[in-house]
Amino acid sequence: MKQVVTALALGTLFVGAPALADAEVGKPAPSFTLKDESGKEHSLAQYKGRVVILEWTNPECPFVQRHYKADTMVNTLKGFDAKKVVWLAVDSTSHNTPEKSAAWKKEEGFPYPVLQDASGTVGKSYGAKTTPHMYVIDEQGVVRYAGAIDDDPRGKSAKPSNHVKAAVDAVTGGQPVPAATTTPYGCSVKYKG
């Protein structure tokens, strides 16, 4: 009987562990080291002292396509002090390859790296559910914002309110983030499974 219980407990742990470790506002962000589309390694620790923006992305997702067509990400990034803020895109799509990311980056012409997480390990450790799903991590490595890029899931608003911009401005200005958790919208992350 005892063994059965232990086995069940271990089983639960195994299945449940990734979900338990979600990146949560107010808690230290899960650490990671990932290669980008050019093979260069990026770790969260190396950006300590700077605000890190993580963007879960997938060029095949219509929501991502809409934002890249509108240059939402690049325009948001332009509003920040490049010395203080780092933007990292993460692609956890199981069938993505560095070549696809490189081609997409060239086509869209954005400056930041696309981290390769085809195994989905980092995506699941953050609890990334949608593309786009955004995280803002402060200089000390604590998650300060998790959720949608803006308040306009349908792309209908003339003046969408950009949650990531508000969060980064608050963090760099030493202010509390006004809406620290929002519901992300978009396609589901196409994890391996």
Partner: protein, 773 residues
Amino acid sequence: MTHRQSKRLGWVGGIGLLLAAAVAWAELPHSAVASSAPDEGDPRVEGALLVDATQVKPGDTFRVGVRFRLDPGWHIYWKNPGDSGLETEVAWDTPGATVGPLRWPFPNTFRTPDGFITTHGYDNEAILVADVKAAEGAATGMLTLSAAVEALVCEVHCIPAEMMLTRSIPLGPQTLRDAETAARFDAEVAKVPRPAADSGHAVALTLDAPQLTAGQEFTGALTLTGAGGAAVPAVEGDFFVAERIPGVARVGLTADGPGRFKLKGKVEPGVQASAPDLTGVLRLGTAATGYQFLEVTAPLAPVVAAAGTAAGTPAAVKPPSVKDSIAAVKPVGAVAPPAAAESSVGLGLALVFAFFGGALLNLMPCVFPVLALKAYGFTRMVQQEKGRVGAHAGAYAAGIIGTMLLLAGGVLAVRAGGASVGWGFQFQEPLFVAGVCAVLVAFALNLFGVFNVGMDGTALAGKVDQSHGLLHSAGEGVLAVVLATPCSAPLLGTAVGFAFAAGPVTVLAVFTALGLGLALPFCLLVLVPGLAKKLPKPGAWMERFKQVLGFALLATTVWLVWVMGGLAGVDGMARLLAFLVAVGLVTWLYGQGQAQEGSRKLATMAVAAGVLVASGLLTLRFDAQDAAAPRLGATVAQAQPWDDAAVEAALAAGQPVFIDFTADWCLTCKFNERTVLSTDEVRDAFTQHHVAFFIADWTRRDARITAKLAEHGRAGVPMYLVLSPGAPDTPAVLPELLTPGLVADAVKRAAECAPSKLGGGANVLCAAGFPSH
């Protein structure tokens, strides 16, 4: 799907209206049918606008429905799409008519193969029905209904769909129904959950904690009873889908028997000042028995900010070191609830509350028998010696106030020891409860006339021994207080809470006021001249009244026996009852002895004393562990009793160690064990980091534990130590009020400090409680 292909679809591509499919719907006008979500030219969804009337009379209500037909494997979303997706949206343009809200059938639940992403919606075919009321007016012309439909259509990948569906219905002198469509709508509306109350169902929700904490998980239970208490059918599959609840990250139900569900959820971090409701839809029954769909709404609880993290302040989100979190949480843990009382209640008001509370206590069921007894005594006394009434009232009041002050002293002493005590803490001691029971039974038997107190057989005439009588009055005062404490908690909550938080002088003042209030009725008898004379004249009724009071005392004993059951289980109750029988026998022997003379009398008294001592020794061995041990095992997993040698062995084996210094009578300890240490989050953290979990039980005095507590500057429990194998000499002392996240973080840090995992120089970091990543 490759990148190039997806590019061709595009976001805007989905907007195109493809009407070709309308051929298949000859009965519908072209404008009422559209398809969208083109997947390489192949539309994945077809929408149609259906109406259950062919002609409408102005002022009448009919129904309109948007029917979705999806390719196999594709789905659209419910109003709460879940982890991803987008709510399906219908915008109406219906001049001359008003459309009611969409009626959403119970949704299916879709999961990715790894179970990581869960969404809710409809596949194959679904109709979203709404009521339409045609405006009053001329019964001629046409009514035009337009629906702009937006849906996200997903299989593995997602394609947005936009459709414009329009149709017209002639207005006429009467409404002509379309039976076929109406039947189709009825079938769909049957799947729409209705408010539980409409079908007579009662929903009861209880949470395991009185409030929700931002960023923390919560658990509870939901009970559903059918109309008139009827049984609720069993459930299967994904039977519950929560709506989007602001402030709540997720919430789910698992079946726990018919009509009973376990509730588990998590509050979003950083939520402030909200009191969310649980709202969702429930599917009762199975595919075999047929389904019933209910809409459930029940208030959860107010959300409070996580302890030590005032949400939103920049300081709150610094990576917390153990030191910081202790500094932040310690004061909260020590005085949190009373501090709240302090801010809202001044000392004067607390004293007034205490005084009137004390007076009201006279009417509480646990004190009333004593009160009645005292009234009986007064009635007798007033007739005998008026001068003594004042002295007796004084003795009674002194007994009450003296006991109150003793209690206050006890509170102060225990509090000075660093532990937190609950009101009525003395009732946590089984021997104390047994003692009070024995006194009550002896009192009752005395009233029944089994024996006499303070009077020889010859003194029955009524000569009251003065000093003894006064002591008797004082003793009644003591008994009144002793019995009053457990009753007073709800009544005196504010005043007592205030007292527990405040300084020693305030504690004494509040308890004195309480005592004065409790003594008030008898003080009044003395202070108001003539009032005492209004008491009824003594007579034969008094004997009967006295005996009735005896039964009231026995009833009070029943309650105490129940208290004992909570302390020491069924065995404890049985032992107590056996002891009470012995007490009855002893009092009877004593009564017999009173009627005897000389050596016979001495012998009887000796036997009585012998029986009392023997029975006491035999029965009064309450093992609180009997009741507590299994509970502990059930709430806190993998615990072993604390032992320095075992701790060292675990550390040597590279395991982090968590020591829980606790006691059964320590409410804070029990609260932490129930709400934190037994949560899945903590259990999982313990399992994951191979934490050796020790319990140091201080329920009884234990010199080893006392010494260990003193080593860390504590005089009492709770105390929580986390020892890292990497830095065994610098344990982290956690705050008294735990949170699952705090415990999980602490053991994680301890695990990261393991010698196997750290490089040179990291000892310093470990000692300071910093993560070493």
